[in-house]
């Protein structure tokens, strides 16, 4: 308890010193962590999976066709979260009400846009991440094809 409050006090002092520009401890404030370069791919994967879930609820006869595509996106999200070191929001099909918005045509457009994000991520990625981003880009392209 004592240690904690002492540490807190020291921290507070260091903070005010830095703010005052005294530079006694010359400590930089902690920079806000940069979002991981693959985070947009992870966000898109989750958004796309949820779009497929809604489309399936709205049009159950498309379930056989759309379910494997939603599963691909969940597999991407799992792998990306592992690489980034992020925690996925608790799984389970999104309970959101079906909307008329998710048709195979809009899904196809969303896949094509998401493919572009993944291509850019692959191009910019360090070698050890290039293959993952590349496979995700290729998979999104196959989804656009499967939705024809």
């Amino acid at each position: 308890m004592l240690t904690t409050s002492r540490r807190f006090l020291l921290g507070a002092l260091a903070g005010s010193a830095a703010l005052a520009g005294c530079g006694i401890l010359d400590r930089e404030p902690e920079p806000a962590p940069q979002p991981d370069a693959l985070q947009p791919l992870l966000d898109e994967a989750l958004t796309l999976a949820a779009s497929y879930d809604r489309a399936i609820v709205a049009q159950p006869d498309l379930a056989a066709r759309l379910t494997p595509l939603a599963e691909d996106h969940r597999a991407h999200a799992t792998e990306l979260a592992r690489v980034i070191g992020a925690t996925l929001p608790s799984a389970g099909p999104s309970a959101s009400a079906p909307t008329a918005g998710d048709t195979t045509a809009t899904l196809r457009k969303a896949e094509q846009a998401a493919q572009k994000t993944a291509v850019a991520a692959c191009k910019a990625a360090p070698p050890e991440r290039a293959a993952l981003a590349g496979s995700i880009a290729a998979c999104r392209a196959t989804h656009a094809e499967a939705l024809r």
């Binding site: 494997p68 692959c122 191009k123 290039a130 293959a131």
Partner: protein, 141 residues
């Protein structure tokens, strides 16, 4: 990178050989023309790979004297199955190039990986094989 380029060359050569066999067993006009355009695409990539390997002054891995098909092709069904198989194999070879290339060369490798993955999806649809897609095209195993 030369090792991965040689592997891609071997995969493209195998695809060209396979499409020769596949074409014999297809009859429907659109299927024949799809096989023909795939064959042309693989030949163009083969030629580009030969040039690139030459540019790097690396000698390509010795080509096997004869190609062996992974299974017997006797009819349309087995021909379509072979088409899916070779496109998956080519996708794997190009994916392996992503980690050892950068910039435009990586974008090219990705476009070949993507093209083969999309072709495999089309062949699966024609063969009525499901699922049509793989989560990680080109990932071995």
């Amino acid at each position: 990178m030369t090792e991965q380029l040689a592997a891609a060359l071997a995969a493209e050569e195998a695809a060209i050989y396979a499409y020769g066999v596949i074409g014999v067993h297809l009859e429907a006009k659109d299927e024949v023309s799809r096989a023909r355009s795939a064959d042309l695409e693989h030949r163009a990539r083969r030629d580009a790979l030969v040039d690139r390997i030459d540019e790097l002054k690396a000698s390509a891995a010795p080509q096997p004297a004869a190609y062996r098909l992974p299974f017997e092709v006797t009819d349309r069904d087995s021909a379509l199955k072979l088409a899916v198989h070779v496109e998956d194999g080519v996708a794997q070879a190009w994916r392996a190039l992503l980690a050892v290339t950068e910039g435009d060369e990586r974008v090219d490798a990705l476009s070949h990986l993507t093209d083969s993955a999309v072709r495999a999806t089309r062949w699966r649809r024609i063969a009525e094989v499901t699922p049509l897609t793989m989560s990680f095209p080109g990932r071995p195993g």
